[in-house]
């Protein structure tokens, strides 16, 4: 992939509030697939006075049609998505939403991640990230409105061509129709003329009646299936440019150590294919003609790492040489103090005084890796004009562009960010200090005077991957009281670098709440499903959801019971309400050879309203897998300041033979649209843990279950 298609320019390159008309200025795109005459609005025209004038009359993000849409002569539609595709199906969802209102089949869309630029800050009109399950729900109305603006321009151009009043024209997918004369034109046929027209005022066009939706709300096929089944999909790690060198690094074993002497530097330089050896901040890098040679030499480097001194970078969390997760977990659990009260419902003091039984318990979670299959990489190239191009996986282009500008001293307009699709993300590709390869790649490209692609090996990734935090929570519950009182919220700084992880705090907090709720139910002699029903009796939406998952599983059946195959099984239930959606899950487990087997998971989700039920079902499967992986087997362990696992051999993730069957029910309650990518996860770990507690009689208060011993 040499630099091919990215000719869109950021918002601030546009001169005024109306799109630049490329065709009229005789600018034609050289990008692949955009031939002369294509309906290209406002692509790639730098204008001197741009910034000042733009500031005087800014258009709100998400309203400048030309920044998003290009209609080609063959009527295919190139759409620049504000959200990056990383498996969650957002490119397809965007095509559904825009296509619905443009009157164009989502199948005809070619979707790419939009470059950095103010036009794409569509989350509440001021932010752009792909995360927090926010893409669909925060941009839904904005993206819908883009379609009819372009459609109106196509209608105007067709009216002129057909010499017919615009009021007599209609559209069907991809075509303008003049029923009176029986004539029609494909969108691509009028694109060239349409682009000579001004973009209409947003308030002059109307949206479709949702009851007439053809694609929104339907299980439209994903756009990227064939490319992703044939190796054609291009990820950051696959990008290449002419004259490129490859690089690999060896990081300091603990973050914060600084690089001293490379004892065998001469030897490294003499290794096959090696171009040069470089001392970076907290890492040694080897640049070579091919990555394998770079990696071998980087691994072989013998470096004197030094403890941080007065020159220590205050932005980094220096890893102490004696840090261990086991000791840290104990420290968290025994942290003195009563903690900050996080949540109180009702008169807690009175409830506890009146309680027959007070239940106290400490629950724990573990550090987790993202473990996305695509290791991080960055390709950096300085161009002859002094500008910098960077290809890298990221969930927030503008933030990365700004950081790179700061790092290099370049104006942001001189930093072009290419953001290819992601080989998994789960929160991995945000701006985390010391956890991204781009500062190293940029420095190397500068030092060698050629483009450099740096790939972190899996081992280097697991050494610098920022982790989902571990936690200890002390609960105290009063039976006879309806409220639950969480007593311990004490901030303890982690020596590790922390990160978002799919479903963020919910990934562990719902485990704590929902397993402790079961513990309370058991102590009070109540059935955990019936207790939840009772607690939710005044909440119609959640009552329906809990009933739905019960029905989906064939009726609530806690067990233990004996299955047809003779195994002893039990079911657990849990609920969660993350990211604007609500979920309820039931898991059925048994013990085989001392290990927990999850046979089936039933999950109901109420995201209010939906865009694509097939994608939702896939995301529930995916979130279930990650939730199961967390509760069954994942744990990043540190000893002596270093992770004990640097690859999947010692940090296992859920393999295929441990995946459960997953049954999904989607409830469209009509409430405000909620998130999809993350909400399916948080109810899974507690549903599994509660089932195991029921089955074994052993109370599960921590993850992963692989740390427990079970008898088959």
């Amino acid at each position: 992939m040499t630099e091919t298609t990215r000719n869109l320019v950021p918002d601030d390159e546009f001169p005024i509030g109306s799109p630049v008309n490329i065709s009229r200025r005789h600018f034609l795109l050289t990008s692949a697939g955009a031939a002369a005459g294509a309906f290209v609005l406002g692509f790639g025209v730098p204008v001197g006075q741009a910034r000042a004038q733009q500031a005087a009359s800014p258009m709100p993000p998400g309203t400048r049609v030309p920044a998003f849409l290009e209609i080609r002569p063959d009527s295919s539609i190139r759409f620049m998505s504000p959200f990056v595709e990383g498996g969650q199906g957002v490119f397809t969802a965007m095509a559904q939403i825009v296509g619905e209102e443009l009157d164009a089949d989502p199948k005809t869309f070619v979707v790419e991640n939009a470059p950095a630029g103010g036009d794409y800050l569509v989350i509440n009109g001021k932010m752009r990230i792909t995360g927090g399950s926010m893409s669909g729900r925060t941009s839904y109305e904005t993206m819908r409105k883009l379609g009819p603006l372009a459609r109106n321009m196509l209608l105007q151009a067709a009216a002129k061509r057909l010499n017919a009043p615009i009021t007599e024209l209609t559209t069907e997918p991809g075509r303008v129709i003049h029923a009176a004369s029986g004539r029609s034109l494909a969108y691509g046929e009028v694109a060239a003329e349409a682009l000579d027209l001004p973009v209409p005022a947003p308030e002059s066009v109307s949206l479709r009646d949702p009851s007439k939706f053809r694609w929104i709300g339907k299980p439209v096929e994903r756009l990227d299936m064939h490319d992703k089944s044939t190796g054609k999909a291009v990820y950051a790690i696959d990008c290449k440019v002419d004259g490129m060198l490859h690089a690999a690094v060896q990081h300091a074993p603990r973050l914060g150590l600084t690089i001293g002497k490379i004892r065998n530097e001469e030897q490294l330089k003499a290794m096959p294919g090696v171009h040069s050896v470089h001392s970076l901040s907290g890492a040694v890098a080897v640049v070579a003609e091919r990555w394998w040679n770079a990696k071998r030499a980087a691994e072989a480097a013998q470096v004197d790492w030094r403890e941080p001194g007065s020159d220590a970078d205050p932005a980094l969390r220096h890893m102490p040489a004696d840090f261990s997760t086991a000791a840290f977990s104990d420290k968290l659990a025994n942290e003195p103090g009563s903690g900050k009260e996080a949540e109180n419902v009702g008169d807690v003091t009175k409830a506890f005084d009146a309680a027959k039984t007070v239940v106290s318990a400490t629950y724990k979670s573990q550090y987790l890796h993202h473990a996305q299959l695509e290791p991080p990489s960055t390709l950096a190239r300085f161009n002859p004009d002094g500008s910098l191009e960077v290809w890298l996986p990221n969930q927030a282009p503008e933030q990365f562009q700004a950081d790179i500008a700061k790092l290099t001293g370049l104006d942001p307009s001189k930093v072009t960010l290419h953001s290819p699709i992601l080989g998994g993300f789960f929160g991995r590709h945000f701006l985390y200090p010391s956890a991204n390869p781009y500062p190293q790649a940029i420095q190397l490209a500068k030092e060698v005077g050629r483009p450099v692609k740096l790939i972190w090996s899996r081992e280097e990734e697991f050494l610098r991957d920022p982790m989902r935090p571990m936690a200890a929570v002390r609960f105290r519950g009063a039976l006879d009281a309806s409220g639950m009182h969480r007593i311990a919220q004490i901030y303890v700084k982690n020596p590790t670098t922390l990160a978002y992880w799919r479903s963020v705090g919910n990934s562990m907090n719902d485990f704590f709440y929902e397993t402790f709720l079961d513990e309370l139910a058991d102590k009070g002699g109540q059935d955990p499903y019936e207790l939840r029903m009772k607690l939710l009796q005044k909440n119609e939406r959640l009552s329906n959801l809990l009933k739905a998952v019960g029905d989906l599983s064939g009726g609530w059946k806690r067990g233990p019971f004996t299955a047809d195959d003779g195994s002893k099984r039990a079911r657990g239930v849990a609920m969660a309400s993350p990211f604007g959606s609500h979920t309820a899950a039931i898991a059925e487990v048994s013990i085989r050879n001392g290990q927990v087997v999850v046979h089936d998971v039933w999950e109901a989700i109420d995201p209010g309203s939906i865009v694509n039920p097939a994608i939702i079902e896939a995301q529930i499967n995916s979130a279930t897998a990650l939730g199961m992986s967390q509760v069954l087997m994942e744990e990043a362990v540190y000893q002596n300041g270093e992770p004990t696992a640097r690859n999947y051999d010692l940090y296992p993730i859920l393999p295929p033979d441990r995946m459960a069957r997953v049954h999904v029910r989607i409830i469209e309650s009509g409430a405000e649209m909620g998130g999809i990518g993350e909400p399916g996860l948080p109810a899974i770990p507690p549903a599994v843990a509660n089932a195991v507690s029921t089955l074994t009689g052993k109370r599960i208060r921590s993850m992963p279950l692989s740390n427990y011993t079970f008898e088959s």
Partner: protein, 153 residues
């Protein structure tokens, strides 16, 4: 050294102990085969060598001299591979897609050797990791292929 990949002959000059994966990706520029772990743990690098699935990240170049290597780029040229890809699309298997080259190669190898695999045979052969958790969709796609052996998808 001469290498037979996707029915073409390539002269490659990397050292004999270089993993096949990096020959394919860096020296020959075919990036459909993925690097995930480098330890034969994940299977993202799976290719066919004489029709059998091999993890190319731990396969030294000099061990495959004179053998027929097939990468994901040429899989649709194979009748079974073509049906596997069609089943992957039909079942909407991929999510992020990064592991799917390897999954498709593994499924093709399985069906070449065992045209109608049982559930146990599918479980034994389809062992590549997928962090997106597409395992149920993969299983459904392979089962679909095994039950429809001889038919056109």
């Amino acid at each position: 050294m001469n290498l037979q990949i996707n029915s073409q002959s390539y002269q490659v000059n990397s050292d004999g102990d270089t993993p096949l994966l990096w020959i394919i990706r860096d020296e020959l520029g075919m990036t459909g085969t993925k690097y995930g772990c480098g330890l034969a743990q994940c299977g993202a690098c799976s290719v066919l060598v004489d029709g059998e699935v091999v993890r190319s990240c731990v396969t030294p170049l000099d061990s495959v001299a004179g053998r027929q290597i097939t990468t994901i780029e040429a899989l649709e040229a194979d009748p079974i591979g073509k049906r596997v890809v069609a089943a992957w699309v039909k079942h909407q298997v991929p999510q992020c897609g990064y592991c799917q080259s390897g999954q498709v190669v593994a499924a093709t190898a399985l069906l070449k050797q065992t045209p109608n695999p049982s559930d146990d045979e599918i479980a034994a052969a389809m062992i590549n990791l997928c962090r997106c958790g597409t395992y149920n969709a993969i299983k459904a796609a392979v089962k679909d292929l095994s039950s429809k052996q001889g038919e056109t998808l």
